[in-house]
């Protein structure tokens, strides 16, 4: 323990003023090299759970960047092609102190990612790799020398078995040492990339060039930005309350003028609103959407109001005073705590003159896809090639004298308007990475091919409870679903009690904690479903095969089995690993039909599992299935009524299914049907999740992963109350039970849409449900508001959600007999993990929504204005000073309808139904909007039905959107998507659907071209979400983005 060497190091340190401190440094010989190729058997240790990251031994070289290179070209090293990077401790410190916090956290993420095989080497602690800074030596020179010493140490330590490349920008040093030792290279970044990577990854040179240019080019501009205050003054000001800190949120529809900062709770006083307005680019002072900024409140005399009109994103604010609300706190940015710059999708301006700023220097402005991001100035010489491409751009800096931020070009996504490029843009904007699974990850997977089929391990089977013979197990999923992760069983016990079982795919059996697959799944966190495709969290062999609980085969499962008495009280509960064999794989519509009593012949025809049976055996089976489905629905109803009594909310959504024709185009957008059996499955899943949450929270009070749903904010209910009041209803929002009950009462027998809209407005008012670690929050915040449960988690979909995988591990550890050393993540690890999962979930929901919008636009692209599918019924749900926001039940679209045009003319609908624009004004009241024109007055109430025409508003730089135009202030005569009639058609549809499946199969083609083989893609990817809860959170997401913002 005490055999260490000890030398002192003098460091100069700045604490506001410069002082000289002495810090001791202990050096040792046993600092591990962390390489797989090590012959000295270094002991690798790590403080986190899981195996340590090692430098791989199967690569051509290790690269050691010097501190300056690491700082300037970290982005190149972030490219996933380059593996085996050794960052010296000196470089890591330099990135942290001379670079930025953000840069340092990017470096840390790079190291943390075990797939990258990159490490930090503690060269300053290693006796032989350390080099003392000589008196008077320049810091940069010492950095280079220390890096070389490390490179030299590695070279000798690994006995020259792997070439080492040191990258530096010090030409003199390269000249002196470059050829000293063979296989120990000292190169510049350019030479290194050209020599090693240019052949393999050509785009890396472009990235280098643009990084290099942007570090050289500083543009001079005239602008009135002021400098940021020094960090200590900001810290002081924050402490005394003079300044306010918060994330800046730019208003999407008025991005040049308005940005807001939400105050933290502790800063709230009674007379101040919660948001602070930052008006104009000068006051915003170079902050970009998402940055953590420090701001100063302006004196009350300079406060301004926010605009309340509807504006098209991207259009300039009109500056019209009539559109402005009451004064609100206004401030200006005085400092930036943290930049949250990411990769932005952008494109060059269509307008040649504007785009070419300064052609000689190769500098031009690009327009980001996200309206909230300002234009970015980049340097590139490839304008002509990239003119009509969507490209990725990163911001490097925003100098005080520059109107726009400087950035650099990263890579191209493809041509604008191309479906693949547009989808890629959605993915990048939401920070979702979807590279295919690597070779090494796939090697960890069990093999299941026709030649060597996967079989169960007989030893493993004996360790598990065998339910194959004893239970009738089946699954109910959307049609064509591949990754079946939940199955159910229900039966009556001899004592008259009911036994309900939920059996979930045992993913954790296949995915070891810390394995590469686990790492990958963790970084993805969720399967991403887009309108036409999906990106799996786990490799296909697991998600679609070995973990998928399809019928007729033996599968491992994790089961929760309850014994319920007649009142659905839980008598007993059992958790554990099981072996199951699902007997039927049903789909929702079929299960509902079985419940409603279709004839046996239809049942048999629809269920492939029954095709080989005849006679009485068949009758018995059908009878048994029918009884089981009925029993299940009965049990679920019982469970649900108990929960609803507790105050659970039922919320409404209109989901739209993209129906694509077999050739190319999108045939129709159909609202999805909601069946009782959906609720049944959702209820069973909620029940299982709840009981698992109870168990893990009890066993690991400090480190279990739960999901909570906090209370909604009272002020969010204003619009809901206004809407309800316009029809004479009252909404009570004090508790979830009262809210649920008052929503139930709001039923207008003549207008079924009213209840749906009110419920969806209630959903908008909800706060976010989120994962958290139990050690972090006080016990009384564990509750789930929407489901009215004291504890909730996610357990039932481990194939497509990483949170469930963790919960599985926790549950299995909780019920394990032998108490071995726990490998579960600790409280702090779990908390950061849950944050990560929350972010990823949100991102995937946004991406899903955006891709649905993309497809909506594609649907309307080909349609003329006369197409009757474009003229639809809409319901007003919110009022603005120049128009109304409407909801289109037919397509589930929300959007603005203008009653006053930009020219100031207002709309008037004449007796004959003709729409005229004339001079006049629009007056907004609490529950209606008055249009006062030369031709007369017209009134638009909340929840009024009007008729609108949908048309596509194409956009070059941004996502295309739909425009809604007023056609008539009366409801559309024949309502195309009347919910009731569609529901009645349902039964007939099922039979048709089952038969057409065979036809669809024949149409499957080999190519991957989207369009030609839509049937196949649809079958593969066209999943809906299985639980009510998902639907719920979806809706919440859509509510996050009201159409105008």
């Amino acid at each position: 323990m005490l055999e260490k060497s000890d030398r002192r190091l003098r460091l100069k340190n700045v604490h506001g003023k410069s002082v000289c401190v002495v810090r001791e440094v202990y050096r040792r010989e046993d600092i591990p090299c962390q390489s797989e190729a090590c012959i000295a058997r270094c002991q690798n240790t790590t403080i986190t759970s899981g195996p340590p990251t090692l430098l791989p031994k199967d690569i051509t070289h290790y690269v050691i960047p010097d501190p300056q290179t690491a700082r300037e070209y970290l982005e190149i090293f972030e490219s996933h092609h380059i593996r085996g990077i050794i960052f010296t401790q000196t470089a890591a410190h330099s990135v942290q102190h001379d670079g930025s916090r953000r840069l340092h956290s990017r470096l840390k993420n790079l190291i943390k990612d075990r797939r990258r095989g990159s490490v930090i080497f503690h060269n300053e602690f290693q006796t032989y790799a350390y080099c003392e800074r000589e008196p008077g030596e320049k810091l940069s020179h010492w950095h280079v020398r220390a890096t070389y010493k490390t490179a030299d140490w590695y070279f000798n330590h690994l006995a020259a078995s792997i070439p080492i490349v040191m990258v530096t920008s010090d030409e003199q040093f390269i000249h002196d040492f470059g050829h000293k030792t063979p296989n120990l290279f000292v190169l510049t970044m350019r030479d290194y990339l050209e020599g090693f990577w240019a052949q393999l990854v050509p785009e890396i040179m472009e990235l280098y060039q643009s990084l290099h240019d942007s570090s050289k080019n500083k543009t001079k501009d005239v602008c009135e930005y002021v400098g940021y205050l020094p960090a200590d003054i900001l810290a002081e000001g924050l402490k005394t309350g003079k300044y306010i800190q918060g994330f800046i949120n730019v208003n999407k529809s008025n991005s040049l003028q308005e940005a807001f900062i939400r105050r933290a709770k502790k800063d709230l006083t009674e007379d101040s609103g919660s948001d602070i307005l930052i008006s104009g680019m000068v006051a915003r002072n170079r902050a970009v959407h998402g940055d953590l900024v420090v701001m100063e409140l302006l004196p009350r005399a300079q406060w301004q109001g926010r605009s309340t009109g509807i504006q098209n994103p991207g259009e300039k604010g009109s500056g019209d005073n009539a559109n402005v609300s009451d004064m609100m706190p206004t401030g200006r940015v005085v400092g930036i705590t943290q930049r949250n710059w990411r990769e932005y999708v952008a494109c060059f301006s269509q307008d040649e003159e504007v785009g070419r700023g300064d052609k000689k220097a190769g500098k031009l402005l690009v327009i980001p896809w996200d309206y909230r991001i300002p234009k970015i100035r980049i340097s590139t010489r490839q304008v002509d090639a990239l003119k009509d491409h969507r490209i990725i751009v990163r911001i490097d800096s925003w100098d005080i004298d520059s109107t726009y931020p400087n950035g650099h070009f990263v890579r191209s996504l493809g041509k604008i308007g191309d479906l693949e490029a547009e989808v890629a843009a959605i993915l990048v904007e939401n920070d979702i990475r979807v590279q295919s699974f690597s070779e090494a990850q796939l090697l960890e997977m069990p093999v299941d091919t026709p030649l060597s089929p996967w079989t169960m391990d007989s030893e493993e089977v004996t360790r598990r409870r065998d339910l194959r013979e004893s239970h009738l197990i089946f699954s109910i999923d959307p049609k064509g679903c591949e990754d079946v992760d939940d199955t159910l069983s229900v039966r009556t016990l001899p004592n008259g009690n009911t036994e309900l079982g939920v059996h979930i795919a045992d993913v954790t059996y296949f995915v070891e904690p810390g394995s590469l697959t686990d790492q990958e799944a963790q970084s993805r966190s969720t399967t991403v479903y887009l309108a036409d495709r999906r990106y799996d969290m786990l490799p296909g062999v697991l998600s679609a095969n070995l973990c998928s609980l399809v019928s007729g085969v033996d599968r491992y499962a994790v089961s929760v089995i309850w014994e319920l008495d007649r009142n659905y009280e839980v008598v007993d509960v059992w958790y554990g690993r099981t072996v199951i064999r699902s007997q039927y794989k049903l789909f929702y519509e079929l299960a509902q039909a079985i419940h409603e009593g279709i004839v046996d012949a239809e049942v048999v025809r629809s269920i492939p599992e029954l095709h080989n049976l005849w006679g009485t055996e068949l009758d018995d089976k059908v009878q048994e299935l029918r009884e089981t489905v009925d029993r299940l629905m009965q049990v679920a109803r019982g469970l649900k009524s108990r929960r609803v009594k507790g105050g659970a909310l039922e919320l409404e959504s209109v989901e739209v299914q993209v129906q694509l024709s077999e050739t190319k185009s999108i045939e129709n957008l159909n609202p999805k049907q909601h069946l009782e059996v959906h609720d049944t499955i959702a209820e069973c899943m909620i029940f299982a999740n709840h009981w698992v949450a109870k168990k893990i929270a009890e066993t690991f009070p400090n480190q279990s992963l739960l999901r909570h749903h906090p209370l909604p904010k009272e002020e969010q209910f204003t619009n809901l109350n206004n809407c309800a009041a316009s029809r004479g209803f009252e909404i009570k929002t004090s508790t979830n039970k009262e809210l649920a009950e008052s929503l139930d009462r709001c039923v207008d027998s003549k207008d079924p849409v009213v209840n749906k809209i009110l419920r969806s407005l209630a959903t908008q008012a909800m706060s976010n449900a989120a994962y958290f670690c139990t050690g972090v929050l006080p016990r009384d915040q564990f509750f789930h508001y929407g489901l009215a449960l004291d504890m909730y988690t996610h357990f039932t979909s481990p194939i497509r959600r990483y949170a469930d995988v963790i919960v599985h591990r926790q549950l299995l550890e909780a019920v394990a007999n032998e108490k071995k050393k726990t490998t579960l993540p600790s409280c702090t690890e779990l908390e950061s993990l849950s944050q990560h999962i929350n972010t990823k979930h949100r991102a995937s929901q946004y991406a899903q929504r955006e891709s649905q919008e993309l497809f909506q636009c594609l649907f309307f692209r080909g349609r003329g204005t006369e197409d009757d599918q474009c003229v639809v019924d809409a319901v007003i749900f919110q009022l603005r000073v120049n128009g109304v926001l409407v909801f289109v039940p037919r397509y589930g679209i929300k959007g603005p309808v203008y009653l006053r045009s930009k020219q100031g003319e207002v709309v008037h609908v004449g007796e004959d139904g003709a729409v005229e624009w004339t001079a006049g004004q629009v007056i907004k009241m609490t529950t209606h909007v008055m249009v006062d024109s030369v031709l007369g007055q017209q009134k638009y109430d909340l929840l009024d039905h009007i008729t609108v025409k949908l048309s596509l508003q194409d956009s070059w730089a941004h996502a295309s959107s739909l425009r809604l135009e007023l056609v008539s202030n009366l409801p559309l005569k024949q309502q195309p998507a009347n919910m009731e009639t569609v529901a009645k058609q349902q039964k007939a549809d099922i039979i048709q659907e089952v038969t057409s499946e065979a036809v669809e199969k024949r149409l499957q083609l080999e190519s991957y071209d989207l369009g030609q083989n839509f049937p196949q893609l649809k079958q593969e990817y066209g999943q809906s979400k299985s639980s009510l809860y998902e639907m719920f959170s979806d809706l919440r997401t859509s509510a996050l983005q009201p159409p105008t913002t």
């Binding site: 323990m1 005490l2 260490k4 000890d6 002192r8 604490h15 002082v19 000289c20 401190v21 002495v22 810090r23 001791e24 440094v25 202990y26 050096r27 040792r28 600092i31 591990p32 962390q34 690798n44 240790t45 790590t46 403080i47 986190t48 340590p52 401790q89 942290q96 916090r101 340092h104 190291i111 943390k112 930090i120 503690h122 300053e124 602690f125 400090n702 050690g775 600790s826 409280c827 702090t828 690890e829």
Partner: protein, 228 residues
Amino acid sequence: MAGLELLSEQGFRIDGRKATELRRIQCRLGVFSQADGSAYIEQGNTKVLAAVYGPHEYSMATFSTGERKHRPRGDRKSKEMTMHLQQTFDAAILTSLHPRSQIDIFVEVLQSDGGNYCASVNAATLALIDAGIPMRDYVCACSASFVSDTPLVDISYLEETSGGAELIVATLPKSEQIVFLEMNARLHEDNLSPVLDLAVKGCKDIHDVLDQAVRDHVAEAAVVSGLE
């Protein structure tokens, strides 16, 4: 100092130690000729001089910390430390053998780099032994902290000031009795026992070092006085 990584991914602390390693301890007994007993100890960069006799006082030299400032002797901080030292040694010295007498311990911190109390206790123990005052056992003190779910032993000034919990414990190493325990900042109940265990283990390690120093000193004294 924000964002300082106290414990690297591979488990190294800022000064290159691992979580369970003490700083280097160097000590000498009998550094003053006129005192009854005296000792000097270095724990890393914390350097403390202790002498046993005369009226008691505790103070810090004006030049001891990284930042030089005039520190009045007998300020609140010093008084508190004096009281802590007094309580610690009340428990360890067999006072019943010396009725109606007064034992005075002078402690001077020459350089401070974290763990002032611990070094003071360890120095005073050596000085008391040098003075030949009967004690139950050595009194050894050690600090510990808790960073990224890992307990750290014998924390330096940098680790002390970066906001984590600090646990200071003084023990009688043979019987593992705790004579003094202090805790700064908050620490979750569940984590207390690993941190305390590590601090107690640190005390035992310090004991080994001090014991060796005492034996060496006695052997040397024996040679000088010709007993051998």
